[in-house]
Symmetry: C2
């Protein structure tokens, strides 16, 4: 038995955003075709070390791959004390036909990439075709990933950015303008940023003030990324009264997504969710129905996105003969 | 960051049964000291391939290691169709201080070894000191593992063996006599085997006829291995009325161990469980109290046994400079 080992550098070489966007579309379609087994994730908290490791499993009956992603986060002392990053990841891939371990790859890059791609997939399916202006609430790594993915599916003329931390806004402006040559305007307020948006991307930690529903102009497409766990919230749930709500997973979004707050406040019922994004991609449900309507994509992140993305990396490695094989047993 | 890779051959070289027995004792003590985090395992069923992969996680606050064991089973077509075994395993070890992946090892051997060691740990703690005769109900691989471990903690003069399949009995006799030079008598019936036992080891799939409580002679120590999932049963639950019941984990044994049947039939209550084996090893609870009493150890298997055993393998590898390091990222 041979297992392919892929370093972070190799993974980086093997996967480009257009591939990730395709992989995430595949994930959503497979999920909404009921071809996915995706048990609840397991988190092991390490409060003494201010860290946590999460384990997420996904099986696709279409590609016959089982993925296991271990992802650590927190561990604030890591750089100084151990000379390793705060957050690390490892992905294992098993062949579902035989249970064989076919690949061990560094998994530090996958979560960021597939979450970025999620926004672009939703924008391609739901945003107005003439969308040109993107507003980012939150200016961290994931905001950069969202831009990296959006430029693959649309032409962005301008970006408006807002963050609670002035330094981060400035850094974001400098870096994004340099990387993409797109003009970034630092908004004068959160409201100001929201009002400028054709596409509104929220990637905060979901702990700040919420976005007022009245700020969102007709025709906006919202990519709601930051709320992926109980206790997080980025929007006044009133937005759900008018928006066409699309989710990655009905069950996850009702439990821990932005949608959960709308349910809790009885603003919508579960039936008020228009569709899973996979149903739209499969053509089973409609997408945007007018230029004026607000569409909202609630993304909580699914193990199957890791599965299809990692499998794409693995297939590219095999095709391009990159990586090293290791024989765990004869 | 460097991760140690260990092949099956290296793992085999690096761990001998006395080490596993120590590791399992450490696991039980750590567990009963409440220093273990051990979430419910996740199983992914692959009915189309007649297989399953289970993922078991354990964290010890004492050794600061998080272990993840992936274990496949079933996959009956594997040898012919894919030239790989039916059952395979992989273990990952993470440093709990930083979340760093420190080791990837083949995990095919660990489950068998640590389950074998469990019986020996219980026998050392609970069997009569003058025990000389072991009876095996079930003669598969795990029965062999139990003998391999028991010979490390006691002198076995004779073994009586019973299996439903005549061929397997004969094969067991031949192999055990050759490996250990201990005389193996094939019992004339299950009852006959049970009646001869100082130590009674049951390792069937828990699907056959149960062992009658009246067959078990006073002073016997029972190692009940086969019942580790709902639907399995090896004993008439009446045995719990007289036996001193010791479990690996109260919660697991009440849910899916031999003990679950005694609870279900109201033969004992949860309070009727004398102790967890770890509590006895720690000296917090008594062990056997007379030569005449029957002691019963109900083993369902815990992730923390994989953790301490795999960590022992890892430590031995570091000390003996065995294995190859791989740099997943700089």
């Amino acid at each position: 038995m041979k297992t392919l080992l892929l370093t972070k550098t190799e993974v980086d070489q093997l996967i480009k955003m257009p591939d990730v966007i395709e992989a995430v579309e595949e994930a959503y379609k497979t999920f909404s075709s009921k071809q996915v087994v995706q048990p609840g994730y397991i988190g092991i908290a390490l409060p003494d070390h201010r860290g946590e490791i999460d384990f997420k499993l996904g099986y696709s009956r279409v590609n016959e791959i089982i993925s296991m992603k271990a992802h650590s986060g927190g561990f604030t002392d890591n750089p100084q004390k151990y000379d390793v990053p705060n957050s690390m990841g490892t992905v294992l891939l098993f062949d579902g036909n035989s249970g064989t371990l076919i690949c061990v790859m560094d998994g530090s890059l996958i979560t960021g990439l597939r979450t970025g791609a999620a926004g672009a997939v939703s924008a391609r399916a739901l945003a107005r075709k003439n969308s040109r202006s993107v507003s980012c609430i939150g200016t961290g790594n994931q905001a950069r990933m969202q831009i990296r993915a959006l430029v693959e599916v649309m032409k962005i003329d301008e970006i408006h950015a807002w963050s609670r931390t002035p330094d981060k806004r400035t850094q974001f402006k400098t870096e994004i303008e340099q990387e993409f040559g797109i003009n970034v305007t630092i908004a004068t307020s959160k409201k100001d940023a929201v009002e400028q948006a054709d596409i509104l991307v929220t990637t905060t930690r979901g702990k700040g003030d919420v976005i007022d529903a009245s700020w969102v102009k007709p025709g906006t497409h919202i990519v709601a990324i930051g709320t992926d766990a109980p206790g997080k919230q980025e929007f006044d749930p009133e937005i759900f009264r008018t928006a066409r709500t699309v989710v990655d997973s009905v069950s996850q979004c009702c439990e821990k997504g932005e949608t959960s707050h709308a349910l809790e406040h009885n603003i919508i019922t579960r039936d008020g969710i228009h569709a899973e994004i996979g149903e739209i991609l499969l053509g089973h449900k409609s997408g945007r129905e007018s230029e004026d309507e607000i569409t909202l994509f609630d993304s909580t992140g699914m193990a199957i996105q890791d599965n299809t993305t990692a499998n794409r990396i693995y297939q590219n490695a095999i095709n391009r003969n990159i990586g090293s094989f290791f024989t765990f047993f004869e």
